[in-house]
Symmetry: D4
Subunit: 254 residues, 8 copies
Amino acid sequence: MTESDLRLLLASVKQGTIPQDEAFAQILAALREAPYENLDFARVDHHRSTRLGMPEVVFGQGKTPSQIALIAERIVQRGHNLLVTRTDPAAWAAVREVVPSATFHESARVIFLRKDDTPRVTGTVLIVSAGTADLPVADEAAVSAEVMGHTVERLYDVGVAGLHRLLDARTQLHAAAVVIVVAGMEGALPSVVGGLVSAPVIAVPTSIGYGASFGGIAALLGMLTSCASGLAVVNIDNGFGAAALATRILRSRR
Amino acid sequence: MTESDLRLLLASVKQGTIPQDEAFAQILAALREAPYENLDFARVDHHRSTRLGMPEVVFGQGKTPSQIALIAERIVQRGHNLLVTRTDPAAWAAVREVVPSATFHESARVIFLRKDDTPRVTGTVLIVSAGTADLPVADEAAVSAEVMGHTVERLYDVGVAGLHRLLDARTQLHAAAVVIVVAGMEGALPSVVGGLVSAPVIAVPTSIGYGASFGGIAALLGMLTSCASGLAVVNIDNGFGAAALATRILRSRR
Amino acid sequence: MTESDLRLLLASVKQGTIPQDEAFAQILAALREAPYENLDFARVDHHRSTRLGMPEVVFGQGKTPSQIALIAERIVQRGHNLLVTRTDPAAWAAVREVVPSATFHESARVIFLRKDDTPRVTGTVLIVSAGTADLPVADEAAVSAEVMGHTVERLYDVGVAGLHRLLDARTQLHAAAVVIVVAGMEGALPSVVGGLVSAPVIAVPTSIGYGASFGGIAALLGMLTSCASGLAVVNIDNGFGAAALATRILRSRR
Amino acid sequence: MTESDLRLLLASVKQGTIPQDEAFAQILAALREAPYENLDFARVDHHRSTRLGMPEVVFGQGKTPSQIALIAERIVQRGHNLLVTRTDPAAWAAVREVVPSATFHESARVIFLRKDDTPRVTGTVLIVSAGTADLPVADEAAVSAEVMGHTVERLYDVGVAGLHRLLDARTQLHAAAVVIVVAGMEGALPSVVGGLVSAPVIAVPTSIGYGASFGGIAALLGMLTSCASGLAVVNIDNGFGAAALATRILRSRR
Amino acid sequence: MTESDLRLLLASVKQGTIPQDEAFAQILAALREAPYENLDFARVDHHRSTRLGMPEVVFGQGKTPSQIALIAERIVQRGHNLLVTRTDPAAWAAVREVVPSATFHESARVIFLRKDDTPRVTGTVLIVSAGTADLPVADEAAVSAEVMGHTVERLYDVGVAGLHRLLDARTQLHAAAVVIVVAGMEGALPSVVGGLVSAPVIAVPTSIGYGASFGGIAALLGMLTSCASGLAVVNIDNGFGAAALATRILRSRR
Amino acid sequence: MTESDLRLLLASVKQGTIPQDEAFAQILAALREAPYENLDFARVDHHRSTRLGMPEVVFGQGKTPSQIALIAERIVQRGHNLLVTRTDPAAWAAVREVVPSATFHESARVIFLRKDDTPRVTGTVLIVSAGTADLPVADEAAVSAEVMGHTVERLYDVGVAGLHRLLDARTQLHAAAVVIVVAGMEGALPSVVGGLVSAPVIAVPTSIGYGASFGGIAALLGMLTSCASGLAVVNIDNGFGAAALATRILRSRR
Amino acid sequence: MTESDLRLLLASVKQGTIPQDEAFAQILAALREAPYENLDFARVDHHRSTRLGMPEVVFGQGKTPSQIALIAERIVQRGHNLLVTRTDPAAWAAVREVVPSATFHESARVIFLRKDDTPRVTGTVLIVSAGTADLPVADEAAVSAEVMGHTVERLYDVGVAGLHRLLDARTQLHAAAVVIVVAGMEGALPSVVGGLVSAPVIAVPTSIGYGASFGGIAALLGMLTSCASGLAVVNIDNGFGAAALATRILRSRR
Amino acid sequence: MTESDLRLLLASVKQGTIPQDEAFAQILAALREAPYENLDFARVDHHRSTRLGMPEVVFGQGKTPSQIALIAERIVQRGHNLLVTRTDPAAWAAVREVVPSATFHESARVIFLRKDDTPRVTGTVLIVSAGTADLPVADEAAVSAEVMGHTVERLYDVGVAGLHRLLDARTQLHAAAVVIVVAGMEGALPSVVGGLVSAPVIAVPTSIGYGASFGGIAALLGMLTSCASGLAVVNIDNGFGAAALATRILRSRR
């Protein structure tokens, strides 16, 4: 309810064209603002698309296959794009029953349905990964970004121990509107990329490594304390979060 | 050295208009690309302004006052804006000697000199803080953003325990091009802001708190694991980093 | 104090050989010297019900199915309610043999038997959960509270990233005698609820999340350092503990 | 604005007794709900007293003496009790200037002003401490609870290594409406107390200890993982938080 | 020093060619130059029994069944008692082939062979456990102590939340020469026992618990920072280590 | 049991109205119901000496000088030895006023008064330190042990990087009844000593070191996970605790 | 392209013996320096052998069997030695198909192919392990070192709790050019070895142990804080890294 | 082996009563039984110079000025080079009294005396630092290396955020026999250097940084988990340790 709506409503009350009780109800509803659908175990936030510029994304971890399928069905019924992250074949089997046109990306562990493949956002999102083992996270970022309407490019296995592989791709790096850098182990790649380009660099630590990598802590700390200024850091293995941040950045450009 | 420069140079060598030795030197220099100034204890990267869209910023911690003063002098001599972070009165006394027009912001622990006060970047950067104790970090972000050419607004002491203070400012929140949210303790404010606005939200954990806040770890972990999608997180107390990220985001809009 | 002791004492009171006040004191002391049953591998504290206002609860983790079944049998034989937490289908199979009227709640991993469904405690315990994935812990709290004699209401999936879902339920929140708030990831929901209601708020961190949530540490630290005053925090995933605390609070009201 | 207020207002608009614009303004204000006072660096939440049953408490850490004094002055002007925690002599000097009737408790590091010494809440709050070194935290809890209107008793230096000191005080323990147990080092005292009494037990870990106590982590973890059911845990050294929780519990009894 | 060396030496002493004192020194030195058997993947320290008063114990974790069987065979061939800790059914199957008279204690995960059941050390070792779930560790301590020649008593499930169960056993506690206290969760039991008895108390933290017990860290820290003076702490779940320490203590009494 | 109770009991024994064995049991029980002195801020446990074989030791950290002086005075008045640990010159100044015969050991940060210098316990306590920087902790152990009645020897600066210094002292090592090994940094010395001697080895990690020693954590973990069997570990820098454990061990030998 | 190459090239351009376009291409290529092969999911760095003196090693963790097989095939096609670490039987099955002459070392989890068994580096690499359970890591170091052309000797199960086993091997220790010391638990062995020999000592912590060994952290911290000067530490379980460091050291001797 | 032993032995060799080879073996063994000087609080290991190729270095932390001065005096009396690390002006004042020719390097916190400035080891040690704030650690490494007889070069402030500064120095990097890389914050520089050169790279993490750098943990973890193979890591801020490792490496080349 905008301010002009409210003015109009009060005028109508005064003129008697709208009953007082109805006005009361409308204002009360407006106070509650955003609609959602209550499934008891979940409250699907259909309004999110309008509010935040991206659909409600289903976080698959800890949900049963039937819960995921039910939520997925409601999202698709409303005409939104579907994106389920951190999911698995069991959930996919359940979703496929009710949303047959969806796709399951096994390595990225993502179920998605994209209504329309035309990019709707200007600017390329470049996904850079340090090693081959970081691919699942890089793919989660790439698929998520595509579902959110971005043009996506990939530049994989360009870790800092063989710097020439990265330096070869300078043109591609400079052309990107946003660079998502995915790296495990010591997570040094975002520092180097951040020193080369002026675009926003989103650093995604991965849990790849062993011993003192502590499941991604080494990479996470490295990215947070980078000597390159102005890196954006997201959670360990959070490819989806990087894509969502890219959406916030690029949509804000319109 | 662009590709056409190289072609031209080689043609000149063939024609003899440029001596072979000079061409050799030019190509060698080009390979080294970016100029910097070697002070022995520091290599000032004057090229950074062109490369990354912001000047080299002096990280004051661990440098002696005389080192800071010497670096500051060189930066100002080149005509760049000056920004020294994590500094103190002793360094300020030394810098003031050689850059008398600079300013020291005591609470933010920042020395700065801004050649030109006109904002040079479109879009407002809104700095939101959860509590009064977070002000030094919020101020570091604000001053840094101003030096980088942004229009800055402040919305302080709107923590989630009194939600109405934040909800009152919704219009201001929605109008911002980038929102920097500074919070200590449990660091919940970015989650709430991230659920309200679609613009990029930069979450800055602070070391404010005691006991289980562990010098900002609680806030940092809270921001990294936020249920709001697409938050950008920077290091604990890193107000400058948030401003630098805002610059990457807003400059990329041009 | 054996039964014959008690008989003797009462006779002495009747005869006037022992003053009434002294007898009173002796009986009180005896009540606090609580009986238990020694099964060698376990000492079942049958007196706990009288002493603490709730029955001895069986912590299932690390006990064999036959140990659990034997303890369960003894508790039910004494006429107490039965509650086994952190258990599994194998233990359930063993308990079902000896306590056929018990129930197994699979998601909450709880075996229970409630002699009498009438709530015996005044005031509603409202269980609020941030996400669908937090349900097992929320259900452990809900089932435990019901076995302890409380009226329980549930308000699930109202995390802070979609604040309107929570604000819609303000009336329900204000009506509760105790609010148990279950949240994983950054665990911000108790801070917001704690700022809205004046009733006791029990914050239960869950291990839901990944990466920097560190199995619930992020949520735990967030709740401990909340800017909302006077939150009660329990262990990660400890739905039962929250219910037990609600019992301490509400029974103390009588 | 209650629902009946709203009904009345709309009726007045229809009848023309209240101008449309004024009604608009009133509803808008009501949407903003709770009043607060904007000091730029702080937004003092005067409404908190009504909303949460206790006044806004000033968290002194990280605030300058003049900020604290200014906030204190405003709180007292509104007729609320004053409570400043985690403060120091410098802040006390500033507050004394503007609120001469306030008191500074040096060991508890608390500034307070209590309008009225009559306890306004039924039930005794018993503060139990494990060692003499825990006194500052126990005193913070005690003073805070008194300012909030409670009757407070103290039982100090009854740690578990000399159990008879605690067992001697059983009568006092059983009589308390709420027991706040303050302990550093291994923090075992709340487990023992929780096994003795049925009232709510609030466990406050302190940073007393050295080496593996890690500034209170040992005590905190011990309390969170206590084998006694239903303990409420608060942050390390958070005596004030324990008092605030006692207020939530005892006020809910009315 | 080979046997023939010894013969020669003694002959020289007899003949007076070597002074008695020098021979004494040589033999002493030889005893401390201990023999071992090289299996390439392992060097079995047969001398340990003489040097340290207990046989070499085989740490089963990380060894293959055939490695364990081979080492076990050599130890038994030399006439030593056998003790394999942290082992499993696969290793047991292999050991049974070569040492058919050995026993496998499933819950304690120990394989052992005790040549002679008569206690060879004066004084009772009392094993106290806080909960039923701590039994595997308590049993590892008990079996190990028995193999090392001690008289062992067990007092299980006497955790501090039901203090009367422990206080009932005071006589047994006071009679013990060494008390081994096994506890998970907050690990408070050794503090209480340490305050009751003057004998050496060996505290064994277990990994029983969840959430903030962090696999035994809470119990470990609690025991290290105990307010009871002079507790001996061993590694998490290290029942064997506690028994070995009891041996060092009680053998030193002879 | 009051004095008159005792008189009565003994009279009854003499008269034969109460059997001697029963009287014995009653007196024993009474001894374990220990008296203490309530100073409000502290409850001085005068009985501890009888119960645990060592006097109540005053833990100085977190106590004010006047509190320490008051407690010290009472302990000395009762005729006990005095031992105040983790104290400082300010406390010493206060104690000296009321217990002029006490001594302050500056490096060990201990105030003590020993009524009688004759060792009252059989067997030597050998204090071994890895480096010179570990002396304050080694001295705390040594002074504490002397106050508790032990014969103490010192073997300092024999760290494992120069193994010959330790091996030279083998005879001294083998002769000790208990060996206390104090080491910072990697804390490897107790492993080596534990492999050489069969006596109880008490490992004391110190906070000496920097970087990855993390204030003694490296040494603590090293000692807890030692490959030498049966080491007793105490808290970081806890020289007093090691002495108290030695007392438990050696007194149990009588 | 060396500087003399560049001079020659420019001379040729001037003389017209090399066309301008070809010179342009050569310089451009030189700028990119090192060749690699792009498989999309991986960029195989064939140049590494020349640049760093050892072949690109395939880090098996997180790669699919078919990815590993494809990379292995390309490396062998180029005539390099093959080394795949942290791999498993599934990957081995895939590699065997395309590189039938390779070998799989099951305990070391390594696939390798060594063109030529003659040691190509002077000096022996001695691999010392503390316990039998450390063998997989020691074997990874040994096999890796052999593939890199070293002469390798093994000295296994010589942990510090039985020091004589190590001291017996002093001659072998002194003869080694580089000593790799592999140890879990408290990781004390490198300190002792580092105090005995003057050669470079590479310390490899392993994840062997339990409880407070925290998956190798205890050993890692112990090695980093060793009182022996100049130890080189690598990641937990990183046998390969130790071998690679030995290669850097011994190749630098030529 | 005393001097007279040696005389006797040599006489026997001359007379032929002892074969030359046996005498050789005896003397070698004696050399490894190293002498030291017992100052009670310290045992100065004068032999270390012969055994390990570098003098005993005095670790200043935790030693009193007079202890340091006494040790320093003895070392210099024996004709060794002097090196005291982690020291301060107070110690310097004391040392200067007894060793007037020594020097104090304030930023490196090192006292040293070098008998002879001629480099005695072949090969350059190149010290690379990431930032100006890392200078104290870099200087500790440089001074230590010089005292140990190395030729040292410095390359400071070449962090990865401005990669061209490092790439400019490739020739210098390739020429070094050993490269010591000192870096704080994310510690990425050793990864990049390790990918460029084949010489041994010693990575020294520093405590420079704030927030998530956790006093050097971020840099330490980054270096341990580097994707560049074969880096040698030392403790945080351990410049001396890096120099000592360089000595082990370069002396082994002779």
